[in-house]
């Protein structure tokens, strides 16, 4: 996994709540057996007109947000299905940071597996960030994971919380499976005991 440290980038504004994974990556793109190439389908149904041209009404199509790596969105982002195609599409499109008040659990987990930092803001913090972007489209924010800080030109930044284990893994770009396999002895011991206690699971 790619390490995540400090980023300065344009922040794009998506003023919608309950953005679900069916919108992030519609089902017709889930048939691929590869992990790559989903960025071009991100928010497909909102992003494109029926003839395949860009929908000018859709916020992420605004020229000011073109090179954004930070996505600022409404409450409960990523609700719905477990599809990891959603964070794959987000990362492939170019976002490495999302800021919202809350995320659906599975989506939140999936972000950390893909070097996407999902920052949790309070309602007031989020509203200030949204106002700042709306007033100055193309504004750049700075995210510093090491120090857990978000900085904005208008001073709406804050210190955010992140689980220390996840932070460490992300800063170092560590592979979760490799980390777990360091404890293979503990898994073997547990499994041997589990077999004795619950023999019917092993028939």
């Amino acid at each position: 996994m790619q390490a995540y440290k400090k980023h300065e980038s344009i922040a794009a504004l998506m003023k919608r709540s309950n953005v679900d994974t069916d919108q992030i990556i519609p089902k017709q793109f889930l048939k691929k057996v590869e992990r790559t190439g989903f960025g071009k389908h991100l928010f497909h149904d909102w992003r494109f007109n029926d003839d395949g041209s860009d929908n000018a009404e859709f916020e992420l199509n605004k020229p000011a947000f073109k090179d954004a790596h930070i996505l600022v969105a409404g409450d409960n982002f990523g609700c719905g299905s477990s599809r990891e195609h959603a964070p794959w599409a987000i990362a492939d499109y170019g976002f490495n940071t999302i800021i919202s008040t809350s995320y659906a659990d599975i989506f939140y987990n999936n972000c950390f597996k893909n070097s996407i930092l999902p920052i949790i803001a309070t309602k007031e913090q989020l509203a200030s960030l949204m106002d700042e972007i709306a007033a100055n489209e193309g504004v750049k924010f700075i995210v510093d994971l090491e120090n857990q800080t978000l900085t904005t030109p208008a001073g709406n930044g804050f210190k955010f919380e992140v689980d220390p284990v996840r932070k460490n893994n992300m800063l170092k770009g560590l592979d979760d499976i490799g980390l777990t396999l360091q404890h293979i002895d503990l898994i073997d011991q547990y499994e041997a005991k589990h077999k004795q206690t619950y023999p019917w699971l092993w028939v």
Binding site: R16, S17, N18, D20, D22, Q23, P26, K27, Q28, L30, K31, K32, V33, E34, R35, D45, G74, D75, N76, C79, G80, S81, S82, R83, E84, P87, S102, Y103, A104, D105, I106, N109, N110, K113, N114, D163, P164, V165, R166, N168, D176, I177, L179, T180, L181, H183, I184, L186, I187, Y190, E191, H194, Y198, P199, W200, L201, W202, V203
Partner: protein, 465 residues
């Protein structure tokens, strides 16, 4: 210390708590389908890792499979490749796969209970958010991403953060034709789609005890729609009776050992939950969603709300957007909303009980003019059982299509989908924009409500039929 059922299962599956890492949880059962697994197998291959416990895995093909002309090759080449990849991956790793032609094939969350593959007290995962279904057996069952699918295949464990606990207590008598689906929708309406975020829900109360195993599966299936990681119902005599004699259920001495363990699982009297929600079953009307989120739901005697009916700014905007997408006018009576297509099926409502109640409502009726109605059994076993009971004839006589099993119109990956502007009454679980087809308009309902709408051409209060 007094423990909740969730805490008991968590504690008994904790492999290790190593400083600087998330707690490692052991996984007993791993369920799979074709959509969320191929990249995980690819990851294993690239890192030269093996599936640790092939016996813990049960796989099926459900999302992309056609529900008609099953003997013809799959027309969509990308879907075809995904199906073939699934077969190759399962074969290569020695996994139990119920492929499209297998008489055990069906939707993963329907097939797994049919074979008794999940028992109380297990930790169960699947690259699918509706894994929550299996909480009906008192198993901790939750959806995971594809990276985690790979993690479980390689290690039989997952690094996990402990969830908070929520008790949803529902007592009282449900009215006739109000069902587990209506309870699930009413809960989502009450607490919202983010209401359960970070929680595992335990459903309790006499209205829950009275539900059949099928009903409990429907209820737990939609725990995810309320944002919860998982839903749980304490195992009881109904659970044991359901499991006994099924293929993967314990037998002989092991049955007695398992039963003693299962009886130790229910939450201790006085165990503390982080959040408690209560509902009165008698207050739950048959539900209909009017918007594009499962929390945008109301009772059949109600009306479509207007944005100004909400205090919260974001909810106002969400309501306005939903009315626009759904092509609905505020304050329309729910019973005045016409429908074009009826879908009964999915991991939420594709079980035998669902077709029985729908057939009871359908018997002797005709599908209304210009309405298409499709019944998609959740598995070949459900299909056969329904046919043995003559239910297929009731649907066919009324003008319904009786299909082969699969996820079908729940997420419309297999070609069964709504066209732009088409409006469905659907027994599935999500009414998100475009889920059933771009521009399609979904109203989530119970099987009985869907069946009644088929003949009327609009929603009706089935309690008055």
């Amino acid at each position: 210390m007094k423990k909740t059922m969730y805490e008991k299962i968590w504690d008994s599956h904790l492999v290790a708590e190593v400083a600087g890492q998330a707690p490692l949880l052991y996984v007993d059962r791993h369920l799979m389908h074709e959509v969320t697994s191929p990249q995980a197998f690819e990851g294993l291959r690239l890192s030269k890792r093996k599936v640790r416990n092939p016996h813990s895995i049960l796989a099926t093909m459900d999302h992309c499979v056609p529900t008609k002309n099953r003997d013809l090759p799959i027309a969509d080449p990308i879907a075809k490749k995904q199906i073939e990849t699934m077969a190759d991956n399962c074969h290569e790793n020695g996994l139990n796969l119920y492929d499209m032609k297998n008489p055990n094939n069906g939707v993963i969350h329907i097939v797994v209970p049919e074979h008794g593959f999940v028992h109380p007290g297990m930790v169960v995962v699947c690259g699918d958010s509706h894994t929550a279904t299996h909480g009906a057996f008192g198993a901790l069952a939750f959806g995971i991403g594809t990276s985690e699918v790979e993690h479980v295949m390689a290690t039989q464990t997952l690094p996990q953060q402990k969830s908070k606990t929520m008790l949803i207590q529902i007592d009282g008598e449900l009215s006739k034709y109000a069902s587990a689906k209506d309870i699930a929708l009413a809960i989502t309406g009450k607490i919202g789609t983010a209401g359960g975020n970070g929680h595992v829900i335990e459903y309790a109360g006499n209205a829950i005890s009275k539900l059949s195993m099928e009903g409990r599966m429907t209820l737990c299936n939609m725990a995810i729609e309320a944002g919860a990681r998982a839903g749980l119902v304490a195992p009881d005599e109904k659970t044991y009776t359901y499991l006994k004699g099924r293929e993967f259920a314990p037998s002989g001495d092991n049955w007695d050992k398992a039963l003693a363990y299962w009886k130790s699982l229910p939450s201790d009297e006085g165990a503390v939950f982080d959040t408690i929600v209560t509902l009165n079953a008698a207050d739950i009307e048959p539900q209909v969603t009017w918007g594009t989120s499962p929390e945008q739901v109301t009772g059949i005697t109600s009306i479509v709300p207007a944005p100004e009916d909400f205090d919260d700014e974001i909810k106002k905007e969400a309501c306005a957007n939903a009315l626009n997408y759904m092509g609905l006018t505020a304050h329309t009576k729910i019973t005045d909303i016409p429908v074009d297509l009826i879908f009964i099926g999915s991991c939420t409502n594709g079980r035998i009980e669902d077709f029985r109640i729908a057939a009871e409502v359908t018997k002797g009726t005709k599908v209304a003019d210009k309405v298409t109605a499709i019944a998609v059994p959740g598995s070949y076993h459900v299909k056969k059982q329904a046919e043995d009971e003559g239910l297929d004839k009731i649907f066919i006589d009324a003008g319904w299509e009786w299909r082969e099993p699969g996820c079908s119109m729940c997420l419309a990956m297999n070609g069964d989908e709504l066209t732009v502007g088409q409006r469905s009454a659907s027994t599935s679980n999500r009414n998100f924009e475009g889920r059933q087809g771009k521009g399609g308009r979904t109203h989530l309902v119970s099987p009985a409500m869907a069946a009644a709408a088929a003949s009327a051409g609009h929603f009706v209060d089935i309690r008055k039929l």
